[in-house]
Amino acid sequence: MYTEKVMEEITNPQNVGEIADADAVGEVGSPACGDIMRIYLKVEGDRITDARFRTFGCGAAIASSSMATRMIRGMSLAEAWAVSNADVVEALGALPLAKVHCSVLARDAIRAAINDCRTRRGLEPWEVRSSGCDGETGHGPGPENG
């Protein structure tokens, strides 16, 4: 049901772990949902210099978090915020329809981490319209790019 590219990401995930002195942590999901995704960021100025994850969940959840952390490393916070779940799916090649929510979860985890970073810096979090383990969430307003 998964493509070879996704399987490679599942059997050999990148960026697994925590960042001890992380500048931001974002967590979404719950054990009841069967998915928990936690993303750790190291942010220097506006730039994500390190991204790691821990995920409890199915293969697509692991693959999505691995791919998402690879994608946002080196991005600015605004660029990372703009990463959509479709971008994650595209980077993975494909996900089965029933598993697309895992890519949504990855995007939500990134955004939760970015907002954690902003909150820690005394900034307003960017708006997240809705969230949930099965819902498509709306894009927040474009970040006031700095």
Partner: protein, 389 residues
């Protein structure tokens, strides 16, 4: 290691079927002599199924599988006995072929009691008795559970049902060749089975209906199966099912001894090697081939994927799809938390397995669980290996 999902077809079964695809292609309903061989093949298979269940040949009706047999038994009894009552009793851990059929009947105005099970997955016959009312027309409890392998006290449940004049149906799809069956001694009025679970062909099944039991037809049309189930017989499939059930029930005890030996070694090995793991189901009243585990902090599908990558086929009660996924109703019914139910693994052994397969599993599984626990945010630091960069 997923024999509860399906089995390979035995060469003897395939050989028995082969002539009925081409040489004996006659329609068993046809009048001419040429059709006789087809008819004979079907009737011999009926005899084999009857013999395996301790039933008469004329109480066996072929279907297109276990799900059809379950649907027919439950809907058929419900519709034929509606003037006597509208209440059905079943268990919370039935296969969906039973549960969804009961839910459909609820929409048609029937009422259904879904009995709970204990922590091992057993239905208490006393609960069955307590649930029976003067409106109860059917008790349907499976013989053995497909996920956790728990074998139900079928004979006791059958007795309770009969003491109250209620019909008793059992879904025996997982039990053929694993549990010795005698429909009279067990008080069974209807029994469903499926060919591909015991080395027979897919798309074949049968329903046993005790003589004199009032059951409405499910499939209407021609007069096949003595006017009870329309549709030209799947002759090769039926012949294969007959051959397969004869083979599967020839030496149940010997088969169970061999399979349970491997299974017990597997269970011990897994629990010894992997911390924070539990074996689900009944310690003794269980199918010889079934092992079901819960591993904390990890999710079932990812276990399956990593096992698959190492050449091991398994199954899980975790269904992570379309978002907020409900894990197995069976695992929740025996009292597991959502997290434990999501972290479940079912291994079901069979004739395709050897001791070497068990060795391979015991070598691979601890590593798979360890790797996933390394990834999981739920894993306590104490259960984690040092982080590599």
């Amino acid at each position: 290691m997923d024999h509860a999902a399906t089995t390979f077809m035995k060469p003897e079964v395939l050989a028995a079927m082969a002539p009925y695809f081409s040489r004996y292609f006659g329609n068993p309903s046809s009048f001419y002599r040429f059709a006789r061989e087809s008819r004979k093949g079907v009737e011999e298979a009926r005899g084999a199924v009857g013999a395996a269940l301790g039933a008469s040949t004329d109480e066996i009706f072929f279907t297109a599988g276990g799900s059809e047999a379950d649907n027919w038994a439950i809907k058929g009894v419900a519709l034929a006995n509606r003037e006597r009552g509208d209440h059905i009793i079943t268990s919370a851990i039935e296969h969906h072929a039973v549960l969804h059929t009961c839910e459909w009947l609820e929409k048609q105005g029937f009422s259904v009691t879904y009995l709970p099970v204990d922590e091992f997955g057993r239905v208490d016959p006393g609960d069955v008795e307590d649930a029976i009312t003067d409106k109860t027309i059917l008790v349907s409890v499976m013989m053995a559970n497909n996920e956790i392998g728990t074998v139900q006290p079928v004979a006791e449940i059958g007795k309770v049902a009969h003491d109250h004049g209620v019909l008793f149906h059992t879904d025996a799809v997982q039990a053929i060749g694993a549990v010795p069956i005698d429909v009279d001694a067990m008080g069974i009025d209807l029994l469903s089975l499926s060919g591909h679970k015991f080395y027979g062909p897919k798309g074949t099944g049968a329903l046993y209906i005790r003589r004199g039991t009032r059951v409405e037809n499910l499939v209407h049309g021609g007069g096949q199966e003595r006017g009870r189930r329309a549709g030209t017989e799947n002759v090769p499939g039926i012949v294969g099912l007959g051959r397969a059930i004869a083979l599967a029930t020839a030496d149940i005890e010997g088969h169970n001894r061999r399979i349970a030996g491997m299974r017990d070694r597997l269970v011990r090995g897994v629990l010894d090697a992997i911390p924070d793991a539990r074996a689900n189901g009944h310690p003794t009243e269980r199918l010889a081939n079934n092992a079901n585990f819960s591993f904390r902090y990890v999710e079932g599908e990812s276990i399956l994927l990593l096992l698959d990558a190492r050449g091991i086929c398994a199954s899980t009660g975790s269904a992570c799809s379309s978002g907020s996924s409900e894990p197995s109703h069976v695992l929740l019914a025996i009292g597991l938390s959502h997290e434990e139910a999501h972290g479940s693994l079912r291994l079901t052994l069979g004739d395709a397995n050897t001791e070497e397969d068990v060795d391979h599993l015991l070598e691979v599984l601890p590593d798979v669980i360890g790797r996933l626990r390394q990834i999981s945010p739920l894993t306590p630091i104490s259960a984690r290996m040092p982080e590599a960069d």
